[in-house]
């Protein structure tokens, strides 16, 4: 496996980015899926990542979370290098425990929810509170109910995932991530697996989160949502960031031909 060969300087103190990436690259075998990506996320910023499938947007998010180890470059969470450490001038992988520590401020929501089917909605939310934060059953349940309340699912607390709709499952998954009090939330195509009529309830929860000041990175195909909620939209194609601007600029005045093409295709499909 190619290892990160150069040590990037840590972010300077005045930068307050919660998540920061310098020149990250990722290869799957011979296929380069990310090429030299820079990324920075300020507190309370909401960034949507759009692009055609296979453009590397999900891989970017997964590299920022170290679910996929990046090959080159650096990712910092709250100024701490994620996944690697400098040992006598050479870069080596850190322990999984250290990865967990550095990544603790990050909550993640997946396209396919990934709830644990053998646990109720409430138990899905309380599991990490009990196992990781060491809360008592009572405290964890109180906290868990508050989180389910926040996503409008308190009355479904005792239900198992299989009896919830896709939208409800995704909201439970959001509550599960929120329970750990993350400072930033990563959403990997959170509505792509949902029936169209269930997309709204999930986006509503996310809008509320954004309005409450949550820092968020959202990989999505929901252009309308990105236009309304994002502070910044990143357009990716073929493993590179092609454009990165506030939504008004990016959607109305796309500079690159590739983005114009992408938006045209999308409009053709969605407007008429």
């Amino acid at each position: 496996m190619p290892m990160a060969d150069t040590l990037s300087p840590p972010p300077t103190a005045k930068q307050k980015a919660i998540v920061e990436a310098h020149g990250i690259s990722k290869q799957f075998g011979d296929l380069e899926v990310l090429t030299n990506i820079d990324f920075s996320l300020a507190p309370s910023e909401v960034v949507c990542v759009i692009g055609p499938s296979g453009s590397g947007k999900s891989t970017l998010l997964r590299c920022l979370a170290f679910l996929e180890p990046y090959d080159h470059g650096s990712v910092y969470i709250n100024g701490k290098l994620l996944g690697y450490e400098d040992r006598s001038g050479k870069r080596v992988r850190t322990s999984e425990k250290r990865v967990d520590e550095v990544r603790a401020p990050v909550g993640m929501v997946f396209q396919h929810f990934h709830l644990w089917p053998h646990r109720t909605a409430l138990e899905n939310v309380t599991e990490a509170l009990r196992l990781v934060n060491g809360l008592s059953r009572g405290d964890a349940e109180a906290e868990g109910m508050a989180m389910l309340e926040q996503v409008g699912l308190a009355e479904r607390a005792g239900h198992f995932p299989e009896s919830l709709s896709g939208g409800q499952k995704q909201r439970v998954a959001i509550a599960r991530a929120l329970a750990m009090r993350p400072r930033v939330m990563f959403f990997d195509e959170p509505t792509s697996a949902l029936d169209p009529e269930l997309v709204g309830e999930v986006l509503d929860v996310m809008k509320k989160l954004a309005a409450d000041g949550m820092t968020m990175v959202i990989v999505t195909h929901e252009m309308g949502f990105a236009a309304k909620v994002a502070d910044r939209v990143i357009f990716m194609d073929q493993g590179s960031v092609v454009e990165s601007s506030p939504p008004a600029t990016l959607f109305r005045h796309p500079k690159s031909e590739r983005l114009q093409q992408f938006l045209n295709t999308w409009r053709e499909r969605h407007i008429d």
Binding site: A65, L67, E96, D100, R103, A104, V106, G107, M108, F110, H112, H114, L115, W116, P117, H118, E127, A128, L131, V132, G158, H159, F160, E162, S163, L164, S165, A173, R176, A177, M180
Partner: protein, 223 residues
């Protein structure tokens, strides 16, 4: 003529055989279940380190007869300083042999859990140990009840082989009765019936466990 009285007279031997078969199978299966789980969990936790050795173990268990393993343990053991009672050799043989099969059954169960569930656990900071014990094993356990029951049944039946290394189990004691009375049909039919009874109990236990695990996740009606 079918002579029931003969069986009544030989009841001591039959009961002794039944008891021996029962406890040896019980301990052997317990060893097989737990060693198998340990092997599967090791392989899961660190495939690079344990994948190959565990795979070899599984292939050896599946590729060689239990009887040879029993011979090696009981007759071959002393030459490397391992002196086992026949019963203990039986328990060990059944356990080591079954563990190979169970490791594979568990692996199948683990594999059918979507990887994303483990990523979700990781992103919440849940340790690999807790992910194994709280996310993977409970789901795996439910999946492997039917194939696991099947394997237990096979082990109970194969336990008849321990009679060959002189354990006084059901099969050997039946043979003893045959040799003493020159009646072949009655003793063997009787122990066949007893094996069947034991296996029926294992099978029913499997069904009950399957149902119990399913009931723990009641199906709610949506809306």
């Amino acid at each position: 003529m079918f002579d029931i009285a003969l069986l009544w007279e030989a009841r001591g031997l039959i009961l002794q055989g039944l008891w021996n078969t029962l406890w040896i199978c019980f301990l052997g299966c317990l060893l097989a279940l737990s060693l198998g789980l340990a092997l599967a969990a090791l392989r899961l936790a660190n495939p690079r380190l344990f994948g190959y050795p565990v795979a070899c173990y599984v292939e050896i268990c599946r590729g060689t007869p239990l009887l040879i393993l029993l011979f090696l343990l009981y007759y071959g053991g002393p030459s490397i300083g391992l002196r086992l009672d026949a019963e203990i050799a039986g328990v060990t043989g059944i356990g080591l042999y079954g563990a190979g099969y169970f490791a594979e059954i568990y692996r199948g169960g683990f594999k059918s859990i979507p990887k994303g569930q483990l990523e979700a656990a990781r992103m919440l900071g849940i340790s690999p140990w807790h992910t194994l014990t709280r996310v993977q094993i409970p789901q795996m356990a439910r999946l492997i009840v039917p194939p696991g029951t099947n394997q237990l049944i096979i082990l109970v039946k194969e336990s008849a082989l321990i009679s060959i290394i002189s354990v006084d189990d059901l099969t050997k004691n039946a043979t003893t009765i045959v040799n003493q009375t020159f009646h072949v049909i009655e003793p063997y039919l009787a122990v066949a019936l007893l094996y069947w009874l034991m296996i029926e109990l294992v099978a029913r236990g499997g069904y009950a466990l399957e149902k119990r695990l399913a009931d723990r996740q009641p199906r709610h009606v949506t809306q």
